[in-house]
Symmetry: C2
Subunit: 406 residues, 2 copies
């Protein structure tokens, strides 16, 4: 059996390297007499690369080679990835991708094309890098009604927040360090503004609850506004601030509340100890309770590990489409932001009396050296519409950060 | 399709309850028109129980009913579980078990019988309760050479150690509390002496490395000897003491070093934050790096969650045996204890000079109120044979606890 890789960047070259390194093990587990890389699609050339001879810029070579039964898509972006992947699936080839943008936007459609052509479309690597999470959710937690899925899904922002917590760095300097180390792009917005985490929580919600969640249908906030002062307050509260992406079933499954935003997590939670570029995903099931999957959420070899697991799965399942149970959602499935319910940490430029007048007796937070002229506190459980109304009565608001119960 | 449950104790009744609660979801994911519980094998009767009418004490009823395609074994113990399970497999029925004693001792043999009869033998629930761990290892990390697997695999001892750390309780009073809450048996030895963790690390090693590790072939030490003083030293060292079961490939896979013993874990490790009855398993792969699976390692519904996932898998895979790659090991595969290598925390009734004379400049540990007349320190990496020799020169030894690098 032959495999093609489309896109010879970090992940694509990792896939080729891993197939070479653990070739015998991978071939055996694929239950194939041979499993070889035949083409690498890329517009660039790679003189001197060990796979130089496999590189082509002609997609049709892959599409029309009937011996290529599995295609790995690691190009990234929506176009031409979507066109290439749909063409491969329509030709009955199975496709494995690490491209979260593609899966979040077009996953349901590509799964349909795969099913119509007796092929598989698999994307374990699109969420949590090397961490096994999608297969465990679909297969190992299959007997559970899942009520919530949440996670630290972006390594770049987690690295930055870890720096801010451990070294007291400000956002800008932590970002600069992340860029220097190659953890953040020169244009870091996809990471720091929460776009990457947004795509991943969509995929998780799609699979956990079986209904499509569109990436533009809920509130997404990145970490640009988190300050050193917020960090100090979080420490005083006994926890950390993480960029948390979450999706929770509401109204018996009729709705889902989805959110990407900075969030307070108490120390002692399995998610609080997730540092640097590591990721973790928490899944809450009615039988299993809380279970957490932790590991490297990005990087060449960890991501290749997840891609190759799917390649093996495709090889073993050849000719039989695995059902993902991901279907269209009715209008209004995703709750509007105003109805999002949580406890919130708030810093307001007013006195404690004013806070008590508006919010009643709430938990106040302080630390030595806290800014003068403000009151910091944690609200009771409230929806955002009510919160906004109450905050309008307090005057200048310096921070609003949700407080999780994980 | 019909299912039978053998053993209507905690786990067996959980399986029946979960099948009832999430019946439609489980049936759909099993891709069956019907999926019903037909028999419950137990010597006891259960007057008034919702499944009373299904209870039988006649194993042959199950064995000879050709419509029963999947049998769940939740009886525990080796006999008659082994005889019943082999008979079911020999009859072409798939078997799912939560019985770690059975799997650790007879897993390879039962997998062989399953394969010969085109059936499946599955045992996700035998390690880590509800936590998805065996399937992720086999399937999601399939492209990795796994070098090490380690974990906190016993909830009872972890509850006791958490009590000792958080509340300063002694071992005996923490054990009594665990017994009062039903976390520990009246005879707690299987848990506190490490026997349960021993069986589980065998199963993990069998699957991670593909070669059989016998439960009596390596060093197993429980937590009875951990004192309040050890706890204080661990805190001073910046970590916790957990009952850690681990298996590490040595000499390029020719050998494996396996151990169950109390171990020091630094704060900040994903394993340090695993509290109370929770479990966690760390798997170290060459591509994925470290990945950790966390959740409820025991209990009625979490364990039922893992059992039912296997039942669904058996239903979907009917007629096709899943390979586990678990084969016999050559003699001498498991390293003798003398060759086990680690850093060790030691408390010796001697002065610091004597320690320096024997061990060179090692890291010393102390805390306010530490016992007089002893020196506590952490050795460099050493094998146990050398350690024993050096310790003999120090005089009375009060504690030896290995120090992990997870």
């Amino acid at each position: 059996m032959y495999v093609a890789v489309m896109g010879y960047g970090t992940v694509g070259s990792g896939v080729a390297a891993l197939l070479r390194k653990n070739h015998e093990l991978i071939r055996k587990k694929s239950r194939q007499e041979s499993l070889e890389l035949r083409y690498i699609l890329d517009l660039r050339t790679f003189p001197g690369d060990e796979n130089e001879s496999l590189v082509t810029n002609d997609f049709n070579l892959i599409l029309n080679d009937s011996e290529v039964r599995i295609v790995v898509e690691t190009m990234g972006g929506l176009h031409p990835a979507f066109e290439f992947v749909s063409a491969c699936l329509a030709a009955g080839k199975s496709v494995v991708t690490s491209n979260k943008e593609l899966v979040a936007a077009k996953g349901m459609e590509l799964l349909r094309i795969a099913a119509e052509n007796n092929a598989n479309f698999m994307f374990e690597a699109s969420v949590g890098g090397g961490i096994p999470v999608l297969t465990p959710i679909i297969q190992c937690l299959a007997a559970n009604e899942i009520s919530e899925v949440a996670g630290i899904l972006n390594g770049t922002t987690n690295y930055i927040l870890t720096k801010m917590f451990d070294e007291g760095a400000g956002f800008e300097s932590a970002l600069a360090e992340a860029q220097r180390l190659g953890y953040a792009e020169r244009d870091p917005s996809a990471d720091v503004d929460g776009i990457d985490a947004c795509r991943k929580i969509c995929i998780l919600a799609d699979l956990c609850f079986g209904r499509e969640v569109a990436p533009d249908s809920f509130y997404v906030e990145g970490i640009r506004n988190i300050t050193e002062t917020d960090v100090e307050y979080a420490k005083a509260l006994g926890g950390v601030i993480k960029l948390v992406a979450s999706a929770e079933k509401k109204n018996g499954g009729e709705n889902v509340a989805v959110c990407v935003s900075p969030a307070f997590i108490r120390n002692g939670s399995q998610l609080a100890n997730v540092s640097d570029v590591f990721n973790a995903v928490l899944v809450r099931g009615d039988a299993v309770g809380d279970t957490v999957f932790y590991g490297r959420g990005a990087g060449k070899m960890p991501t290749a590990s997840a891609v190759m697991a799917d390649v093996i799965d495709c090889a073993v399942s050849m000719g039989e489409t695995k059902p993902y149970g991901w279907s269209e959602a009715p209008d209004g499935y995703v709750l509007p932001d105003d109805e999002f319910t949580s406890r919130f940490f708030v810093r307001a430029a007013c006195g404690a009396d004013k806070v008590k007048e508006v919010f009643g007796s709430v938990q106040q937070v302080s630390f030595e050296g806290a800014p003068q002229g403000e009151t910091a506190f944690v609200t009771e459980l409230t929806d955002k519409a009510s919160l906004k109304k109450s905050l309008a009565d307090l005057g200048e608001i310096r921070s609003v950060i949700r407080v999780t119960d994980y």
